[in-house]
Subunit: 343 residues, 4 copies
């Protein structure tokens, strides 16, 4: 950590700074340059980060050298993490997953119908929401536990691992009884108590990036889960807020190699929420794989115009099947494996 | 609601659209223009909003005419809402509140010292965090219930209404026993279960705007609380994410008159979190009042360099006292009243 | 175009609105709904767009139905445009171009060396800046005409089409004498006089998206060139401004299929400026091709640490050669052709 | 400047770094910390800034210590700059200007009528556009020299200093013959050749912040003008791009004290373009003055519904007159002087 002093600082102020550093148990080096004087602080930067050194009179700026996340970092673990999701499906280190299913669970028949079709197309993880975070209190809020039971039943029958969203720390125990993988939605990426709670379970967590979260923010939220004891965090890029309104959000595909450089955790891309437009989902799915993603998450519905949530952005099962063909060819070219499900 | 058909739509597609509209119990009007054909849907737009009409083949766009919030709107209540916070302090309709205090509650002596000084300066609401949403799992997370007790005690002794943050639906009951007003932080603005939970209490809620929340998103979150039965929501502008990194966030002061035009709810501004810079807080506080804000929320600490949270952005008590003098003159010019506390 | 009246509008105000519409030569239809009254305006929307109808008392909103660009639109030209850049190189409709070269032209030897290597690797268009738009007046501003001469000479010797940036309407004539294709940089995307000026030449124009330009803004800028008579506009996505500072800009890859849906013009991606990071350029180049881009623009320098401009984001020639191999395999899979240069 | 080496750097890489530093004529200090090794470079940072040190193998990051602008900085000039605009009107150092007038010059009678009314209301600078940068090639592009003549004539008759926009380096000489102050629009803030050109005149330049320009970018563009010899630059905050579409742009009022802290140059606010909404302009004008602005720029039109440009955002003359009354009271409270015009 480097402390930059203001031009015209006093020697008393410098002494105050160095006294505080020593008081906290660190060593320092003073470097008097032509235009600025710097104080380098030597020691574990993580311990220093919370000290409000910038509030000391005479200090112009405080510059950190290291990243604030540890367990999520490449320095902590050099090799990419690989997680087992059940039914022979792995993610990470060359294993690509294809997550598909409806936005919301709406009933047994329709869920089974969609699940059967996405499995036939080649998807190897089934998604469906039972608790839905909706912007409006007047929108459909999900089927709750009833939905979880249906998702579990369909997943078991089709031998597909399932993933469903958890919105509230009070739901963790309930959902843990049904799901194979938790999903934390974008709006809850910094719901720190929820992160800690799923961090105490033993299931993989698909952590979606918040709409205004930086790459570092996302990794800090992953760190909450990791620091609580759960090592199986899967990052998910699903678009961020931007000024352009022709797409629902702005897909940040560079996040994929960027996160892979900083972290050992797998990265899934969700082009459905990122674009909100079925016409853009196929090319963004292919681009995700070319960018090195470890998974592609797509909403599929057999009757989008009657869906209770996010219908306009869903692919039809036949569109999805067509897309999976292209994704498979590309995965092969990229040297990625899509683990097959049992028949 | 207006449905725009794609150029080259078929009559079958048009019939499908109008059938769906009638099926849902609405009337329609078809208008064939030179370049596009439109279908106007007549009826309660709120009920239509959740129908995924855009997913119907042949539909190019669906345009809403009305705002999606009701209870929060000016059309619902023409006059500005006025809420009573206790100890004679009101907000809204000409009553301006001055909220001040430390970011986090750190101990009885320091809290009492800061509270006494901000009261002497002219603040009429005391703030302090007992549960802290921190980006890093390694940062100080707050004193918890112990902190709530201290805040309650100091508030009682000084006869100041108090406000403190609630992060988790499981904390609502506990915090309700101590606080006069709940605060929902920016990261929880779309924690919908938390909104519903505080919506079932009878205390005012200070709802902070999320970092990437639009004006409409903020009002939809307020709508969650209102629709749960609690009418006392106070909106808070605290800066949004932007590309410029010279301030912590970007203060959107136009949100104040913008929200006042759309809603009857009071609007507080928090220049401390919006700018993160003590040198900018005074002028942004004055600008907030000139913009018509119903409250100004400022973090004050008697020793910022030792604060456990957000020290670098706190004002010193003497800086705050100087600022209150200026805010009072400006409030008088603007015709606003700052309700005095009992001695 | 649809005019939404405010609740409580007067019949006089409605009459004023319809009078204005008739005065301008349009027909109208009034539709009185349960919550709002609408006035549909029938006629050429393009002529209406400049009328400030929203300023009329009683008007709440004015909603356009059509896109404001014409010549750039898919409705104007259904098939993708294909342009010939010289030396047998085409772009669009299945022809993929690979643009490479140094950020700035620095001297004959170094330019020839880089050009020879990128041609050998498989690039088929050579880039190099002679006039450089630099954020700081104290940075290297380019070699000017001297640089143009070198670029022309090297392009001729290697039989590569060349592209170079024009910053000023006064330079158009000069640069037109040397280059095969103009480049308009991001900072000049809305330099409307410059757009009109290159619109009067007969050379293809590579138009880079501005840092805060919406998709529609970019197409409106293309429209300036097209409306001035030059039909050969190539759009270029090069990243937009965002709150995340881990990359130089934020690459909006969904812009590729989004633009292809709205326009017949080819779309090039520039991962060098979009990310500013050599470690991210390879995967973003592949993702661009998977997204359907018609070209990939990459800065290459044989000694980045001595480059006069943007050195830290340049690939080394050997890194570029490695990347081209992968891009070629992917282009084949995607059914794209990269036109070879003469030996 | 501080160079951070990657973990696992080699001694050869370190030597390469220090050799390059010495080769460029600087001294250095190596500091080996627990987690990273740093190389401090001692010497004139401005000369180092253009060296692509980050491209050297083994380098993780390069951190600048100083701001890249000089002539615009507070360190260069401690006292606020004060400029004389003519007819006794000054800006800066306590002198507040009120700029008003139509967006575009449309004809003598209407211009004279508006100008007379804004002068009567209390404005002391007249604005009007003769060359208009319009997003669409099909919109009104301004009256050109004819418009300049009208503006000059009306300014002379009413004894008001005038300001008008310059879009193109080729127009500088022409406009210089008519105007008292140049305006550079947001879209041209980084039109560096235009900046250099007005930098060679002797007139004040009102430099508007670009829609995605950081505070530092704005000051670097001012630096171009200052470095070309013209010391009279007035900065203008006019809103930046954001995700919220309820206002035209997002007014960044904290830019006012932020710029005042970094620079000696005066700062004007333009709430008309920032909000695009007449209902928000009055409160944002007052907030600007409370924030310490040196000027407020407002578009006024006597018949907004027939204006050729930006009608919907114009205030009516009587609305403007009402607002000026409030601005004057506030200016008095803030200790600012509005220089009166001759009768």
């Amino acid at each position: 950590m480097i402390i930059v002093l203001k031009p015209g600082f006093t020697e008393d102020q410098l002494k105050h700074v160095t006294d505080r550093i020593e008081e906290m148990g660190f060593r320092h080096e003073v470097s008097r340059g032509e235009q600025r004087t710097l104080v380098g602080v030597i020691g574990d930067e993580a311990k220093l980060r919370n000290a409000p050194l910038k509030a000391i009179p005479g200090v112009e700026d405080v510059m950190g050298i290291l990243k604030p996340f540890k367990l999520a970092s490449r320095e902590f673990r050099q090799q990419p993490s690989i997680f087992d999701l059940g039914h022979g499906v792995k993610i990470g280190g060359g294993h690509l997953i294809l997550i598909a299913g409806p936005c919301a669970i709406e009933g047994e028949e329709i869920l089974y119908d969609i699940a059967r079709q996405v499995k036939a197309a080649g998807a190897n993880v089934l998604r469906g929401g039972a608790f839905k975070p909706r912007t409006s209190p007047y929108s459909f809020q999900g089927m709750g536990e009833e939905g979880l039971k249906l998702l579990r039943k369909v997943g078991d029958e089709l031998k597909m691992p399932i993933v469903t969203e958890v919105m509230d720390p009070r739901q963790v125990e309930l959902i843990d009884r049904y799901t194979d993988m938790f999903q934390i939605g974008a709006r809850n990426m910094q719901n720190f108590n929820l992160l800690s709670e799923v961090g105490q379970t033993k299931r993989p967590v698909l952590l979606k990036r918040g709409m205004s979260a930086s790459i570092e923010d996302l990794l800090m939220s992953a760190e909450y889960i990791l620091a609580s004891g759960n090592q199986e965090v899967i990052l998910c890029e699903r678009g961020i807020r931007s000024f352009d309104k022709s797409t629902r959000n702005l897909l940040d595909l560079a996040a994929v190699p960027n996160l892979h450089g900083l972290s050992h955790l797998p990265v899934v891309v969700d082009p459905s929420h990122a674009t909100g437009r079925p016409d853009l989902i196929p090319s963004m799915s292919l681009a995700s794989i070319a960018a090195g993603a470890d998974g592609v998450h797509i909403e599929v519905h057999s009757c989008p115009e009657k869906a209770t949530s996010d219908g306009p952005q869903a692919l039809l099962p036949k569109q999805y099947a067509e897309l999976v063909k292209q994704m498979k060819s590309l995965a092969t070219l990229m040297g990625m494996t899509i683990d097959p499900l049992p028949a």
